[in-house]
Symmetry: C2
Subunit: 344 residues, 2 copies
């Protein structure tokens, strides 16, 4: 598959877990999440993406501080509006696909808005709908015409997903999305066969089927994750949000016959090993039934390092009378060395 | 001055103190403020207003609940976007007039947005800038392209107001605005001659000068209000926000040679006499140096009644052994009668 733009190739910037507002009160890191979001949007512009696909947790907090919401609005308006034409067609019924929204329309099909790069997003567990009206931050952005919020489920007993159907040249894309649901509940719904993915009636084999999901992928307990084998095997590619480790390289699931790509977060939000992995977003290119994902390294992310210190493996003597001070000195040296590495 | 539309007549819908979200948790009245805001926007559409001018306190709370912000966004998008052409010109420098905003532009001059009815607003004391970044809810709406937020002051020592200059046919409008400032501080700034209103250099006499302000108009204490005589006498019309009693009918200030019009709130937010006055918004028409304000009654407002009960003026006998019960019965009858009146 060629790298260059082609009239049959969907070019999609894929990112998840941007966590806008993470550490926003921190004097030094307070703007990190917004800075990296800007980098992501710049990449979408630079690569002339057809659209941006976000996999949930765009916001770190359910009720983001005003400064963060304002920053997000400003960046979306700055990068996603303009004269670049939309080069793909929308084939499904937008009023059905966005029926959960006050404005059941695609922002770029509203003749009052001149959108250059549509953003499609599901919600994560950090920015899920709640409170009066069951709204989330993405509803605000959707109603303001700044993004297209899909995959919002309302029923607690039955989930039926219709794909957003898009076509670019000869390539047909069926995009499924499911905003974050409590793992145990979704697990149960799957077990009881209450999760259905609807498919286009005609020429089913022509469609490239992508599913974006925001759940635990790693097994935490028996029911608090979604095993890959629960997912329909007609899928071609699953974009897995919520897990923060960058594992963009598509992983083949041979029992399900689909690939899974896990973009990971664009900011480290916990002191865990997974967050030390270099952060990337993906440029997903789809042509017919083929695809490839190019890893785009994020250059604005503050690199997070982690090291284990096993004192018994050092030359420190536990019987030394000054052992307290010496351990302290040893650790402090380690930390300094890591800080130096980070400063590079 | 003729009522009908004319190419020289500015038609402006004027409203203040809409207090979106007032009583939003109330099961019965929870949507009142949004319903009336919709009525105001419908009126602007019906009367083909050139723009809407809001005098502060659009929101009741500094951090409005998500449902309220969502309702506001949805209504602005529904009513203020569309193909109706903008029939007036903007003559001053928008990048200077809106320099306090992330997007120092008028929403209707952004070629990516198709705005039919621009909204101009100052902030009130209920929705004033605060917190990190000194932002308010109107900043979110402005940056989303849904309104034009002006009159934001940043200096604590000196206020210098430049007018927004607009022209429709031969009518020239200089619009001054000052978002709410603590009364005592603004009073002191005026006393020390630290409030300046700049004027267009040429043909000063041709401009119709409107000033929209959101302060105490009634004397509360010596310094906690702004006396009308503090305001420049070149002004033609002052739109006074913050005071909730509807006194739209322009009142002539003969020492200052200007009119003052006080639209009042569109929802009653306190148990005071002023709030019982029938609620209206204004249709302000300006042609050359002449203007008139037509009162438009708001039909969706829940009428608020108030009555004084003076027991000594009734036939109730304070020495009656059952006086407690009788007073209770008397009051309850009064309330029932008012409720009946309200139900009409
Ligand atoms: Mn996350
Ligand atoms: Mn998550
Ligand atoms: Mn008010
Ligand atoms: Mn006020």
């Amino acid at each position: 598959m060629p790298e260059e733009s082609s009239e049959d190739v969907f070019k999609i910037i894929v990112a998840t877990d941007i966590h806008l507002g993470y550490g926003e009160k921190d004097v030094i890191r307070g703007n990190d999440s917004l800075v990296t979001f800007e980098e992501i949007l710049e990449n979408a512009k630079k690569h002339e993406a057809d659209f941006i696909l976000l996999g949930g947790d765009l916001f770190h907090e359910n009720k983001p501080p005003r400064r963060i919401m304002h920053g997000c609005i400003s960046l979306l308006r700055k990068f996603c509006f303009g004269d670049k034409p939309i080069l793909f067609e929308y084939l499904s019924d937008q009023s059905a696909d966005f029926k959960h929204c006050q404005f059941p329309t695609l922002n770029y099909e509203d003749t009052n808005l001149n959108v250059s790069i549509p953003v499609f997003s599901i919600h994560g567990n950090h920015d899920d709908p709640s409170g009066q009206g069951n709204l989330c931050s993405l509803d605000l952005l959707h109603s303001a015409g700044l993004m297209n919020y899909f995959g919002k489920t309302t029923s607690l007993e039955k989930i039926e997903m219709s794909p957003l159907l898009m076509q670019k040249g000869s390539t047909k894309l069926a995009l499924y999305g499911l905003g974050s649901v409590r793992d145990e509940r979704l697990h149960r719904l799957f077990v009881h066969k209450n999760v259905t993915m609807l498919r286009p009636k005609e020429n089913q084999e022509d469609w490239f089927n992508v599913f974006v999901i925001h759940q635990n992928r790693a097994k935490h307990s028996t029911t608090s994750y979604i095993p890959e084998q629960f997912l329909d095997d007609f899928l071609d590619l699953v974009i897995w949000g919520h897990e923060h480790e960058c594992r963009l390289e598509p992983e083949w699931n041979s029992s399900q016959n689909f690939f899974v790509s896990q973009p990971g977060s664009s900011v480290a939000t916990s002191l865990s090993e997974g967050e030390t992995v270099k952060k990337h977003i993906g440029l997903l290119q789809i042509k017919g039934k083929n695809f490839k994902i190019t890893k785009i390294p994020l250059t604005t992310v503050r690199q997070f390092y982690m090291e284990n210190v096993v004192l018994s493996e050092t030359e420190l003597d536990p019987n030394d009378l000054d052992i307290g001070k010496k351990v302290e000195a040893y650790c402090s040296e380690k930390v300094e060395a890591i800080l130096q590495k980070a400063g590079r």
